[in-house]
């Protein structure tokens, strides 16, 4: 086709900047047409094809919960939970123990009689509190293996702030109790017996390891943990492992926690109770 003479063709070669700007303007002008056209072609020829599939590394989970809008995603929840649950069932937390990476949010599963009641504590007590028992020597002073002192404080689930007391009751708290490693005159930091990097390195290696290697790696990984974790009766007694008062529990509640009502129940559990060391379920 020939050339239509216009003023612009006479003034040859607009500046480079102008050309780039023009190019972008052109692209903005044309892109709706292109996108619309491609979309139409997609409808005719690629119906039902998931365009995101090649780009997403892991397959998206099917929508599991029809009736359970309240539940958090990720873990498979029973679709048909008959009773209504609220957001506390699976409140996302910024700070949680490394253990959750492998063991999930209901870590206790081995011992039939106690698993549910132990899991119940997970919402507000970090795994580290019980499974990394740091009572070196007799007396109330708790220290890490390296000698730093340990205290127990609430750690805010959203902000990671340390708090002496939080509002809430019956497992519905905006924070979890963590062991805090500190020396005199400083705020301290969360004491983590197992490092996240170690756990993730293990998970990355897992597919290539032989069963023997897996078990020795697991043993190595879990080495810092206490062989005998804190048990029910260690806390639910007068002057127990946790100082309820310094964690801000009201006196009435403390009396309840160490009352005969509770302790009587532990007696029932005691006969069944076997301290279960952390283990990969199903392995």
């Amino acid at each position: 086709m020939g050339k239509r003479p216009t003023a612009s063709t006479l003034k040859r070669g607009p500046g480079r900047v102008k050309r780039i700007v023009l190019f972008f303007l052109k692209a903005i002008y044309l892109s709706p047409f292109v996108v619309f056209g491609l979309w139409l072609i997609g409808i005719v020829y690629f119906q039902g094809y998931d365009f995101k599939k090649p780009f997403s590394s892991r397959p998206e989970k099917k929508e599991e919960k029809v009736l359970k809008v309240f539940l958090h995603k990720q873990e498979t929840v029973p679709r048909q939970h008959f009773h209504m649950v609220d957001q506390y069932v699976e409140a996302p937390t910024e700070t949680q123990a490394v253990c959750v990476v492998c063991h999930g949010s209901y870590a206790h599963s081995k011992e039939k009689k106690t698993r549910a009641i132990l899991n119940m504590h997970e919402g507000f007590i970090s795994c580290y509190v019980c499974h990394s028992r740091q009572e070196h020597g007799q007396g109330k002073v708790k220290t890490t293996p390296s000698g730093a002192r340990i205290k127990f404080l609430w750690v805010d689930s959203e902000t990671g702030e340390f708090k002496n007391a939080v509002k809430g009751e019956y497992g519905k708290y905006p924070a979890q109790i963590f062991p805090i490693e500190y020396s005199e005159g400083e705020d301290g930091r969360i004491f983590t017996p197992i490092k996240l990097e170690a756990a993730q390195a293990f998970l990355n290696l897992l597919p290539e390891l032989t069963p023997d290697q897996v078990s020795s790696a697991k043993a190595k990984l879990h080495e810092p943990l206490s062989k005998e974790p804190v048990s029910c009766a260690d806390c639910h007694k007068k002057d127990g492992y946790l100082d309820f008062k310094s964690l801000g529990f009201p006196q009435q509640r403390i009396d309840h926690l160490i009352s005969t009502e509770f302790v009587g129940m532990f007696e029932k559990y005691k006969t069944f109770y076997l301290p279960s060391v952390l283990d990969f379920r199903g392995n």
Binding site: G2, R4, P5
Partner: protein
């Protein structure tokens, strides 16, 4: 067209020096045709937009919230209203083709001829680079004729299938299924064809980008006429009767009638 001619034409247009002969413009679309086109374009865009809304994926509707029901009902209503207007315009166009002189001329020029096949071959050779000159096109080239034919066929299919879908209860479900399938497929074809063929041809191609005013003014200038429709240009210049119809002079604008002038 040789280079000399081009530069002459350029001088002709771009030098604002008053010349002996006034600037000449050639009518491509008369007022009635432009109005028909304008209504048709509006309807087409609205129909396409309201139509493809049924194909939007489910996720799209989350942000609409409770308004989505209203959106759907308005969409359905608009689709029917614009469909009706579009069909009426097409019926008027048939009336225009039969009963108006300009319409009959349109129809005569639009009839396919053997020349179109030759033109097509010639133009393809030119585009590929085996020839230096494009074939000389008459008022409507093979491009326009193909497009017009597709428009008639598509319009018929879309109207018929649309009316069947509108009165779905009256038909065998099988017929409704076929109508729905054709309506959708034909819509995709129409949208794609319109964007690639028509939109590129009249607005998007270089020298017309971003928009060519012809669809509003209805006229093109002499240089463009010579270049794109040389045969028609020659015919007009050699026939005073045709000049009365197609030639305008003076300031750009098709409304004013001017006496024919000599070529």
């Amino acid at each position: 067209m040789t280079h000399n001619e081009i530069s002459m034409a350029m001088d002709d247009v771009d030098t604002p020096i008053v010349q002996d002969s006034p600037r000449r413009y050639f009518v491509r679309l008369n007022l009635s045709e432009r109005i028909q086109h304008l209504i048709f374009v509006t309807c087409f865009i609205m129909l396409a937009l309201t139509g493809v809304m049924v194909w939007l994926p489910e996720k799209t509707f989350h942000f609409l919230g409770s308004a989505k029901e209203t959106v759907f009902l308005v969409r359905s209503l608009l689709h029917r209203i614009f469909a009706t207007i579009m069909i009426l315009v097409c019926i008027y166009h048939v009336y225009y083709l039969i009963f108006k002189a300009a319409g009959r001329r349109w129809f005569k020029d639009m009839m396919p001829k053997v020349k179109d096949i030759n033109d097509f071959g010639g133009n393809m050779l030119y585009l590929i680079g085996f020839r230096d000159e494009p074939p000389e096109f008459d008022r409507f080239s093979y491009k326009h004729k193909l497009e017009y034919g597709a428009l008639i066929a598509g319009m018929t299919l879309m109207s018929v299938s649309g009316i069947i879908l509108w009165s779905e209860y009256f038909w065998d479900k099988f017929i409704v299924d076929i109508a729905a399938l054709i309506h959708g497929m034909e819509a995709v074809l129409a949208c794609l064809a319109l964007m690639i063929w028509h939109l590129y041809e009249v607005h998007l191609r270089p020298h017309k980008f971003p928009v060519d005013n012809m669809w509003l003014t209805g006229v093109i200038d002499e240089a463009e006429m010579k270049e794109e429709y040389p045969l028609h240009y020659k015919k007009i210049m050699s026939d005073p009767e045709l000049q009365k119809i197609y030639l305008r002079e003076g300031s750009k604008g098709s409304g004013q009638k001017t006496d024919s002038i000599n070529a």
